[in-house]
Amino acid sequence: MSDHVDGPRSIGDPSIDMTDLFAFTSPENPGRTVLIADVFPSAGVSAMFSNVVNHAIVVRRIEVAGLGEAAKFKPGDQEYRFNCKFSALERGADGSKPTQRGTCTLPGGQELSFVVGDEKGASTPDGTFRIFAGLRSDPFYLAWLVAILKKFPNLLQNDNVLSIVIEFDTQKVLDPAKGSLFGVIAETSAIPQPRGLIGHEPPRFDWVGRPEQTNMRLNNPAMEHADDVRDLWNQMTPFALAEEFRPLFQKRLIDSLTNWDMRDGKADWTAADLNAAVNVYLDDFILFDVSKPITDTSYFEIEKATLHGKPYQTGGGRTVNANVIDIMLTWMVNNDREFLQGGATQATKPGTNTFPYLASPNTQIQTAVESVDLAASPDKVWALIGDFGGAWQPLIANITTVGTGVGQIRTVETIDGKRIVERLDAMDSSQRSYSYSMLSGIQATDYVGTLNVSPKGSGSAVEWKVQYWADGQPDIIVKTVVTTLLKTSLESLTKRFGAAK
């Protein structure tokens, strides 16, 4: 993943794990720049930010200091730092969902407060800056098993992340007249505290520049026995890699890129070109030029053109919908000879053209499982409940069926007046099992149920499992409806057949 879970240490608090960084021109307003940093890989639907960590996005002006084999991007000294902190949770008096607030210290020291999850975000009074922070659908997609370079469905399908979106007036904030090329990184670091005798804070927990610097280049999954240097890399200072560590990382990147080059069995890189690319990678930040167009395909064009000894044509950057993995793999594996398309062409939900530019979070698949152990034999129980159109459930007032066998439709009328329509998808009488899907009547999608009777001791066990996505109703309401239906039905079997001793 782009920088998801990029070190053993980050397994501690997942909410401080930086996953991705984006830099692009606002689709809503070409005069504004958008920077997005994501944390917390595979965040759950109620995820919140850590309240003891600085979340920073840092921009520096960059100078092209060399071309071709001497390609070099030199950062300036001036930093544009956006530093966000988050509060502990605030509970509503009525037990409502807790609230988290955040404050971002902007370049120049001005502070902007916001509420986590507020899609409108917050703006400074003059409108120069606008900020959103909260849970969003993860815009990143990785559709390869990278260790063996095999296409695969998106490994981050339906995942969410916690995002910090910062949008600002490009002219007012970055003053491009002084140079329009910039580099950006994002980092999580400790809030300083008096520690007395106890240890010392790390300068930072995690940071991210270009996608996959850690998980695919420094820690190439195909180099099984190489030491894991990701934690050490995460301790490096962005924009200023320590000279003493440069040879170590340089060697690792040369080994790694050589390995990537040979993944298709062909050597597409000369040693000199590969060394030049490694030197560019060692200065790890996303390059973006605010005077040129940043598109879904312009990621890394600035670096490539410069390595080829030519002026770059685009604004580079990284948009929300950029297919960075395939762009990167194509370059590393075959030096752009042939585009490598992974097993997905977009994230779960593509980015949007309006603030905050990231799609709403994905809901979770829900599972309701109920089971009961009965004194009767499996065949006896199956004889009653194995009929898809059978009326044995106490909450059902009436049931009608259309057709027979797989494809049969049953319309269930519950005693409280609901009508639920379901279709038989599979029937295996030898295994005493059938599965069905719900067509209408419960506010859920992809609702699939499985009923199974198996031998257990001298009696039998019945398991009824339903999986679905809540759709339009809070998950808890749907879950209550489904669980009640299952539980009540199975309890009725205990009364009828007796519980297993």
Partner: protein, 378 residues
């Protein structure tokens, strides 16, 4: 040794426990969702095991064991790699204290030529939990801790030292775990605090309850939902006759379903003369223990024995459960518990046999010389 009051002034900052628990729970559910959608996704099942173990350890969510069983069944039906599934099964069995089958599975993966660091670490945990090969375990734990310096390697080393009655050294290692900690997860820090509470409150020959209380309080400050820390701290409050404080500590933990909470609430009620309420809580506790024991006997046998040897007031059941635990893992602590409950149950012959077995198993060790069993006569 560094004075504990100095330590408590300067413990590391951590993410608020409320946020961390919310993130753990929603992330755990998200992991299940990911697994059900794409069972082939690498690493998800392993992550679920870690998350369910945390839910069990900190939130006393015993249903985590049922979910882990469901995970194993789910993987068995999938096309997942056999080595990977076997390793996960071994992890789950070990979590449920089915140590022998877990060990057998690890040997099986080894015989397939699938040696892994994860398997080695699990084997170490199993040996440590069973009190086997402790010289080797100590050497390996020391080596791992020296190499990584990480909290997750230091705490098991401290725990082993405490098992071997090297209390000052265990304390030093736990303090080093704080010093070396480079993260903000409150779970890890609460875990160390809990270990220190148990060390000074229960394991040392002359317990220092107030020193232990400070550590339990700190554990709860890190993770307010840490049920076991609340239970242990409530025992100290109860001893001090701080009934309101003990009750206030336990009531929010009732929803966890952990029968130890009901048990300690019963003790608090009875100590105040509220025998009716106390009796009701005791009945709930007994039902809770029996429900857990019916499903996961080995995982809860020692806890059940402790309950029935105490307020549960059923010495025979206590001896039965302690014996189950002892047969499963013949640690010195298991011998001590079983001996004590045998005496309480009036089973002097059984106690004598247990003592003899303890001498045979542990008599030559330094730890045994510090054990109350060393003073006992046949």
């Amino acid at each position: 040794m560094i004075d504990s009051s100095v330590l408590e002034m300067s413990l590391p900052l951590a993410t608020a426990g409320e946020i961390a628990v919310m993130n753990l729970e929603s992330s755990r559910q998200q992991s299940w969702s990911r697994l059900l959608q794409s069972p082939e996704r690498p690493g998800v099942a392993e992550y679920i095991v870690e998350q369910e173990q945390m839910a069990l350890q900190f939130l006393s969510d015993a249903a985590a064991l049922d979910r882990l069983d469901a995970l194993v069944e789910h993987l068995a039906r999938s096309d997942a790699d056999a080595v990977r599934v076997t390793l996960i099964r071994a992890q789950v069995l070990s979590t449920e204290h089915h140590f022998s089958p877990a060990r057998a599975l690890l040997q099986k993966t080894e015989s397939w030529g699938a040696h892994s660091e994860a398997a080695d670490r699990l084997l170490l945990s199993i040996d440590q939990a069973c009190g086997n090969n402790l010289d080797f375990v100590m050497e390996a734990r020391g080596r791992l801790a020296a190499k990584s310096g990480r909290l997750e390697d230091l705490v098991p080393l401290g725990s082993l030292l405490a098992d071997l009655r090297e209390f000052d050294e265990a304390d030093r290692v736990y303090q080093q775990a704080f010093t070396n900690y480079q993260d903000v997860s409150p779970f890890a820090l609460a875990w160390v605090c809990f270990q220190l509470g148990a060390l000074w409150g229960e394991l040392v020959a002359e317990p220092q309850p107030h020193r232990a209380a400070k550590w339990y309080e700190q554990a709860i400050a890190y993770v307010p939902d840490y049920v076991k820390a609340r239970v242990h701290l409530s025992e100290i409050y109860l001893e001090d006759e701080r009934f309101d404080d003990a009750e206030a500590l336990l009531l929010p933990a009732l929803s966890s379903g952990d029968p130890e909470v009901d048990w300690r609430l019963a003790d608090v009620m009875i100590a105040q003369g509220k025998t009716l309420e106390g009796g009701a809580y005791l009945e709930t506790a007994a039902r809770g223990f029996e429900a857990l024991l019916a499903k996961h006997l080995l995982a809860f046998a020692d806890h059940g024995a402790e309950f029935y040897a105490g307020s549960g007031d059923n010495p025979d059941r206590a001896l039965e459960l302690a014996s189950v635990n002892l047969a499963n893992r013949s640690t010195l602590r298991a011998f001590e518990q079983t001996y004590d409950v045998a005496i309480d149950a009036g089973q002097s012959e059984a106690a004598s046999d247990i003592l003899a077995a303890a001498r045979l198993r542990w008599g030559a060790t330094h730890a045994f010389s510090l054990s109350p069993l060393a003073e006992m006569q046949f």
